[in-house]
């Protein structure tokens, strides 16, 4: 209950943030602009609209998660509003989880708006409801939960600018996890391959939550693969939040 109150307050605070609206407008403009881009092509017009729309949801969602997420805990400490909260009977873990859930709710609303725009456009182009896009949108939302957890984790011990740099770096590396593995398999010796395999397991593999290309091509996404990917996203988010709670629990706030 106390977590829900913090989450709701975080949501209310986040929707007052101007950066949110700027990014949302940018995403909707990107989705709408895909129609203009598609007119430059011969063939693949609907594919271009869907690819660009899904990429806009992922990219803008990531920027919202990072730029709002990195300040969530740190700003409360800097403004000293945290001290009024922790004097109440509330655990630090509840505070961190509430902050995370509040931003997750904000992202859910934003992703829903962007997805509605994309669905409307794709359905108009194809003269049918493009329901299949809901699967990649859903997995993109799980990817954004991982990104939010990364941002919240850094926010528990670092200043927003540094947290944003760390988060962007980790998200970039996480997006390239499979390319990194491929690179090691192609060019590296046994030692490098073993090291990269270890790093591959530890890093967030954000590419595993991307099924957009398959769905856009009308290729089947096995239910087992989608379920495992969703489970991976939730498990990784839980792990990151556990570390965030642990770090914040023992942080000296004096």
């Amino acid at each position: 209950m106390r977590t829900a109150v913090i989450a709701f307050n975080t949501f209310r605070e986040a929707i007052r943030d101007r950066i949110l609206y700027s990014l949302l407008i940018f995403a909707l403009a990107m989705i709408g602009g895909s129609v203009l881009l598609a007119t430059l092509s011969v063939g693949g017009e609907v594919k271009i609209i869907k690819d660009l729309g899904l990429a806009a949801i992922g990219l803008v969602g990531t920027l919202i998660a990072i730029f709002i997420g990195v300040g969530l805990v740190y700003k409360e400490i800097e403004r000293r509003t945290l001290y009024t909260i922790i004097t109440k009977p509330i655990r630090r873990a509840e505070f961190v989880l509430g902050k995370f859930l509040g931003l997750a709710l904000t992202l859910a609303v934003n992703v829903a708006i962007m997805a509605a725009g994309l669905l409307l456009l794709a359905s108009t182009m194809e003269a049918r409801l493009a329901w299949e896009l809901l699967l990649p949108v859903g997995l993109t939302f799980l990817k954004l939960l991982v990104v939010t957890a990364i941002a919240v984790l850094f926010s528990t011990f670092s200043a927003p600018t540094l947290s944003a740099i760390f988060s962007l770096g980790l998200v970039a590396v996480g997006s390239l996890a499979e390319d990194l593995k491929l690179f090691a398999a192609t060019f590296g010796g046994p030692l490098l391959q073993a090291a990269v395999s270890a790093v591959y397991l530890v890093l967030p593999n954000l590419a595993s939550l991307d099924v957009g290309a398959a769905v856009v091509h009308g290729r089947p996404v096995p239910a087992a693969a989608a379920t495992l990917a969703a489970g991976y996203g939730l498990a990784y988010t839980t792990a990151l939040l556990a570390v965030a709670v642990w770090v914040f629990q023992y942080r000296d706030l004096k």
Binding site: S41, G43, I48, D51, L52, A55, S175, L176, D179, A213
Partner: protein, 238 residues
């Protein structure tokens, strides 16, 4: 006071914007212009492009495909030479190996550029990555039949098409015609007519109409001269 301030701001804005636009036009007059048909710069391999797009490979493929279309469109209206076309299509399809339109239209662009070995390479690459799709063996068979007049190769690929789900109803008829080596010009005509009927692409439609006109004229000439029917090869707009 407030109105005067706002009017001053607006005036400065208008002067600055029109000044900037004027300076840009003056700059455009003295510097080399970027055009759609300009040669693409050095094309990096797919292994380099993939990481740069941070996992958005399909989007990267879309952007390179648009570049391919612009490149082809620019050259077909000018020198009709396409030295970078194969590398552009190859890069696009390496970034998104299931991009069917890029294989089909890219292959057709290469055929139009008479780059037959490259077109075959693209179709074969597409078939390798999309073994369940009938479109690519069908297009390869069509190229062998219409462009190269290679009946055995066309027959082989039409037979492969025949075994794939969703293939058009006319494929078994083509297989029978090619096996009997009968009515080849009629088969060529029917192939273009089927293409005209099934495509939703304006550019492909125009190409098919052009080829149908050519083949009908050839049929009329052949009937007038009562000469043996010419081989089907040699089609495609030039």
């Amino acid at each position: 006071m407030r109105l005067r301030f706002q009017t001053a701001c607006l005036a400065v804005l208008l002067v600055a914007v029109s000044g900037a636009a004027g300076l840009l036009r003056a700059l455009d007059d003295i510097r080399p212009q970027v055009t759609a048909e300009a040669e693409p710069p050095w094309l990096p391999p797919a292994a380099v492009v993939r990481p740069l797009f941070l996992g958005y490979h399909a989007l990267a493929a879309d952007l390179f495909w648009i570049r391919t279309v612009q490149y082809f469109g620019g050259h077909i209206q000018t020198d009709r030479r396409y030295p970078h076309l194969y590398r552009l299509v190859d890069l696009t399809t390496s970034l998104d190996p299931h991009f069917l339109d890029a294989y089909q239209l890219g292959g057709l662009f290469l055929v139009i550029g008479r780059a037959y070995p490259e077109a075959i390479a693209i179709y074969r690459k597409g078939i390798e990555h999309n073994p369940g799709r009938w479109e690519l063996p069908h297009d390869l068979a069509r190229m062998y039949f219409l462009e190269l007049g290679d009946i055995p190769a066309a027959l082989e690929w039409f037979q492969r098409t025949d075994g794939l789900p969703g293939r058009p109803h006319y494929v078994p008829r083509f297989v029978a015609r090619l096996q009997a080596r009968l009515g080849l010009v009629e088969a060529a005509l029917e192939m273009w007519e089927q293409m005209l009927e099934t495509t939703d692409n304006e550019w492909v439609r125009e190409t098919a109409e052009q080829e149908i006109r050519k083949l009908r004229a050839r049929q009329r000439r052949a009937a007038g001269a009562a000469a043996p029917a010419p081989r089907p090869g040699g089609g495609g707009p030039r």
